[in-house]
Amino acid sequence: MEFQAIVDRLRALEAPGIVSADEPRPANKAEKDPGRSGRPFLVIEPDKLVDFLRVCRDDERLAFEILIDLTASDPGADEPQLWILVELLSVRHRHRLALKALLPKENPTLPSATAVYRAAQWHERECMEMFGVTFEGHPDPRNILLPDDWVGHPLRKDYEFPTEYHGVSCE
């Protein structure tokens, strides 16, 4: 199914938490809009993300069996929100869906998707250490790539590089 057909199906199923569709648009010089290229995303409320994923997985006509990717993005130091980005794939119907959830930068928290897709477990661990996002109910919330005592969240735009680590100067 194409993106629009998937969104229509989700709306018909009354999937929880749909906010809007974030689709590419051409540039508009009169309104000084640079436009947006790339692929469409469906914007979801972060609190409802887990219930939404369950609908995506269990519906016969959507059948998103695989959670391909779950990550976050910090769009800029001045922006008030972090983005959670999810990529789903249906093997049976050969279609994809990209989701986006906006979270406040102050204390970003959302429920863990591990109960729906086990694949989310390591992606969420990476998100936690890199962006400081808290996934409530995560079974194993340890650092995965960084050392356990690392200070700060390196992929946040306001991250300050350390000057020393365990007595070794990094400058």
Binding site: P24, A27, P34, G35, R36, S37, G38, R39, F41, E65, I66, L67, I68, D69, T71, S73, D74, P75, G76, L85, E87, L89, V91, R94, R96, A98, Y117, R118, A119, Q121, W122, H123, M130, N143, I144, L145, L146, P147, P154, L155
Partner: protein
């Protein structure tokens, strides 16, 4: 007979009282305690294929738990991606899956190109990309073939695999000057045209490899000892593969017929598939349970042959022409965001790229197949024998440069 049995030393759990034999002596007694033992496999262990540590919890010969510890090779690829220009990041992509650098270049280039709707990729560039990506897939699977044999204890196939891989590397050296980290596939096309006679050399390689492949198949894949070591262990069902988000040969080994090259085609793969040039090998449970280590291995080895067929098709239809589109020296990517996944030798390599219209990415996320495929170990290992753990880790075919990025 009964006497013999009574005098046979038997293993007792500690705390159990030894029996008194009919002659009045106490039974010969091995006090074997089987408390839990934690064994560190790695970080420097040949079977982990890089710097990775698996913390195994064992009860005697039985593995009761496994916990992979990563991060030893973390080189901050995603952070670098936010700090260097679009084209400058390309050499870093070589370094996550260093056994399939062409495919990494391709994944990143396609992701960036998806944000540039005006950019046209010349047909010769697309076909050269396909040839290089498939050659690299063969080279990568040859390593998987050789090192898996090595893990199991078969030394010979490793040398044969490296001999053919050497040939592929020599071909790459001729086209781009590098043997491991190519940076050949660029945003907009490829770096330069193939030197004269290069395509003929690729055709010659295909001829020889097709012949050798059958020997390799018989040497290891259907070898009785190898089959006994790899069948019925590390079984991943299709549901489990879905749940853990496995892709590539790990998914197909479980009997799921899915390949991005056919099902969500990119570049010229739709045309190649429609021409009937290749098929998708899928695990069938031919030697044991469906989704065991043998099935995954068999899928990889068969894929090499399919890649040869794809290359042959490309060699047939390739024509003279431009090899790179109209790309400036300093690339400015239009504002936008996109996720693009391609079929790497190890599964789906995805790039999420986000541009604000400038020279540098806002976010450059890498969805690495090895990272995701490795997570299944935590569930796969409990209940297996310690001796099989190496076979199971080997069958996931990870590259640690990619898990840690």
């Amino acid at each position: 007979m009964t006497d013999v049995q009574q005098h046979t030393p038997s293993i007792h759990l500690s705390g159990e009282e030894p029996r008194v034999l009919p002659n009045g002596e106490r039974e010969f007694f091995f006090d074997v305690s089987t408390s839990d033992l934690e064994v560190n496999m790695g970080p420097q262990h040949p079977a982990t294929h890089g710097v990775m540590r698996v913390l195994l919890r064992t009860d005697g010969e039985l593995v009761t738990g496994a916990q992979p510890h990563l991060g030893y090779l973390h080189r901050c690829a995603e952070k670098i991606g936010e700090n260097v220009e679009w084209l400058q990041y390309l050499p870093y992509t070589d370094r996550y899956d260093y056994l399939a650098a062409m495919n990494n270049n391709l994944g990143y280039s396609l992701a960036v190109e998806s944000l540039m709707p005006d950019l046209e990729i010349p047909r010769r560039a697309t076909l050269l990309r396909t040839i290089c990506a498939e050659l690299n897939r063969i080279a990568s699977h040859l390593i998987a073939y050789g090192t898996y044999g090595l893990d199991i204890g078969a030394f010979t196939p490793f040398f044969y695999a490296f001999r053919e891989r050497e040939w592929i590397q020599a071909l790459f050296e001729k086209i781009c000057g590098a043997r491991l980290t190519y940076s050949f596939i660029r945003i907009g096309g490829v770096f330069n045209d193939a030197p004269p006679g290069w395509l003929k050399e690729v055709a010659a390689f295909c001829d020889v490899f097709e012949e050798k492949w059958r020997e390799y198949y018989d040497l290891l894949v259907t070898n009785h000892i190898f089959v006994m070591r790899t069948k019925d262990i590390g079984v991943i069902s299709a549901e489990m593969a879905y749940d853990f988000g496995l892709t590539g040969p790990m998914l197909r080994g479980s009997g799921v017929d899915f390949d991005l090259r056919r099902d969500l085609p990119y570049m010229a793969y739709k045309e190649i598939w429609d021409a009937g040039a290749f098929r998708i090998p899928v695990g069938r449970g031919a030697q044991g349970t469906l989704g065991d280590c043998w099935d995954r291995f068999d899928v990889r080895v068969q894929e090499m042959m399919e890649s040869i067929k794809i290359i042959r098709y490309c060699l047939e239809v390739i024509e003279e022409g431009e090899v790179i589109g109209d790309v400036p020296k300093v690339i400015k990517v239009p504002a936008g965001e996109s996720y693009v996944g391609i079929e790497n030798p190890r599964g789906e390599l995805g790039h999420y790229v986000h541009s604000d219209g400038g020279k540098v990415a806002v976010r450059c996320r890498v969805r690495a197949p090895s990272f995701v495929n490795l997570a299944v170990l935590e569930d796969l290992m409990p209940g297996t024998l310690l001796a099989d753990s190496v076979a199971i880790i080997g069958s996931t075919d990870i590259v640690v440069g990619e898990t840690d990025r």
